[in-house]
């Protein structure tokens, strides 16, 4: 069995209106190759879940630039002025979420939880329209789980089944997103025969498809 796919096979997975999670933190650890292919496919009305909006010419910023994104769920957009402009023009819906909450919401989906209670955002605009639950006299926000149709992640090594390791701070949101989407596509920089069973970060059962690209 091989999970390796090519560009055509990847593009066949795309369609309008998908919710897509994209790994990376300010584009470090973002699978740029897959984003280029999404740009090429020109599918529209996407909901993108990513730590940030990237830069205008990098990361998910390329999808925003190409008018493919209807809604962006992210913790900040400060490095991408295009996203800010499109937002203020009403062309892009931006849902800002505290970074730790975003990580937990995605984790909750992958781990089958309905949500989590976090102290983050209490008494701020983040609590708007959310349920506040008090436990031991401390108020928490109920933040519900967040999944996607597709997750695009960047890893380091893979074996043929799709067991993955990551490289330095390019790890960030990639492992958790791998648990929370119907289909998970990983770009890996190296294919190896075996990975030490103690150091595998993402077990192969989470990975559907692999694209090999050295140097990404």
């Amino acid at each position: 069995m091989s999970k390796t796919i090519d560009k055509l096979q990847f593009i066949q997975k795309l369609r309008d209106n998908l919710t897509i999670m994209v790994g990376g933190f300010m584009t470090v650890g973002t699978p740029e190759l897959l984003i280029d292919w999404v740009v090429e496919s020109n599918v529209k009305n996407l909901t993108i879940i990513c730590n940030d909006a990237g830069y205008p010419e990098h990361g998910v910023g390329k999808l925003i630039q190409n008018n493919q994104v209807k809604t962006l769920i992210a913790s900040h957009i400060g490095l991408n002025p295009v996203a800010g402009v499109k937002m203020s023009q009403g062309d892009l819906e931006v849902i800002l979420v505290p970074q730790g909450t975003l990580a937990e919401q995605i984790r909750a989906f992958g781990a089958g939880l309905g949500g989590i209670l976090t102290p983050t955002g209490v008494n701020t605009v983040v609590e708007k329209e959310k349920q506040i639950i008090t436990v031991n006299n401390t108020p928490y926000l109920l933040e519900t789980s967040l999944g996607a149709d597709l997750a695009l992640i960047l890893a380091h090594q893979s074996d043929r089944l799709g067991n993955l390791t990551y490289d330095k701070t390019a790890r960030n949101f990639n492992p958790v997103m791998a648990t929370a989407a119907t289909t998970v596509v990983a770009v890996v920089t190296t294919m190896v025969d075996f990975i030490d069973p103690e150091i595998i970060v993402t077990p192969h059962i989470f990975i559907d498809d692999i694209v090999i690209k050295a140097g990404d």
Partner: protein
């Protein structure tokens, strides 16, 4: 000395041996330059590491090794990498001793606004909301004023990053401590009078014992 250096040097004095510390983007990053060489402090970067080292030489930049500002960094011996879930578990779980952040506004009850100016600047909160709620000690490192307007308010007017979580405010003029929702002036710059601080501060603050900021020049 410029305001930023004064602030960074003074904040550095708050860091104790073996503290786990998160320094925010911008001014707080400068604090790393003034940590007492006789102590060991572990710097966390919320994008996924503990053991932040100095900026690498340009020939040694690794595009997969950056801080939370996206700038190239290095990892010190005994440092390690982890994912965003672990990183914010460390932050929210109270395992970070000190977080240092900038401010748009900070108020006398310890509330902080730092992530949005509606209709004008909408960068987003990033990890700041989790850091301010989760860290054991929250230090705001900020210039006292911005375009002649004070940043030390009676009550923040901008949307909050967190409500009543700030413990210490360090500016180029003064150091304030927040205890039981009250603001105390505890130090002043040797060249700045209490009157000048009052004139540049909207917040009401209590004056009991005011020391001079030390070793900042």
């Amino acid at each position: 000395m410029d305001a930023k250096t004064i602030i960074a040097k003074r904040v550095a004095q708050e860091l104790k041996h073996h503290n786990l510390v998160n320094l925010g983007i911008g001014l707080p990053t400068l604090v790393a330059n003034y940590i007492d060489p006789n102590i060991t402090v572990y710097l966390q970067s919320e994008n996924g590491l503990i053991g932040l080292g100095p900026t690498p030489h340009v020939s040694e930049v690794d595009k997969h090794l950056t801080n939370a500002g996206g700038q190239p960094v290095t990892l010190l011996p005994h440092g390690m990498y982890f994912d965003s879930v672990t990183s914010f578990g460390i932050i929210r779980g109270g395992h970070v001793d000190i977080t240092v952040l900038g401010a748009l506004e900070v108020d006398q009850e310890g509330s902080l606004a730092s992530w949005i100016i509606p209709q004008k600047l909408v960068p987003g909160m990033g990890g700041a909301m989790d850091l301010v709620v989760g860290a054991k000690k929250v230090i705001v490192a900020t210039t006292h004023t911005n375009k002649m307007q004070t940043k030390i308010k009676q009550k923040c007017s901008l949307p909050l990053t967190a409500y009543q979580e700030v413990n210490l405010i360090v500016t180029e003029m003064a150091v304030f401590e927040i205890k039981n929702k009250k603001l105390y002036l505890i130090e002043r710059h040797p060249d700045v009078s209490i009157e000048t601080i009052k004139a540049n501060t909207e917040a009401d603050f209590i004056i009991e014992e005011v020391r001079l900021m030390e070793d900042i020049s």
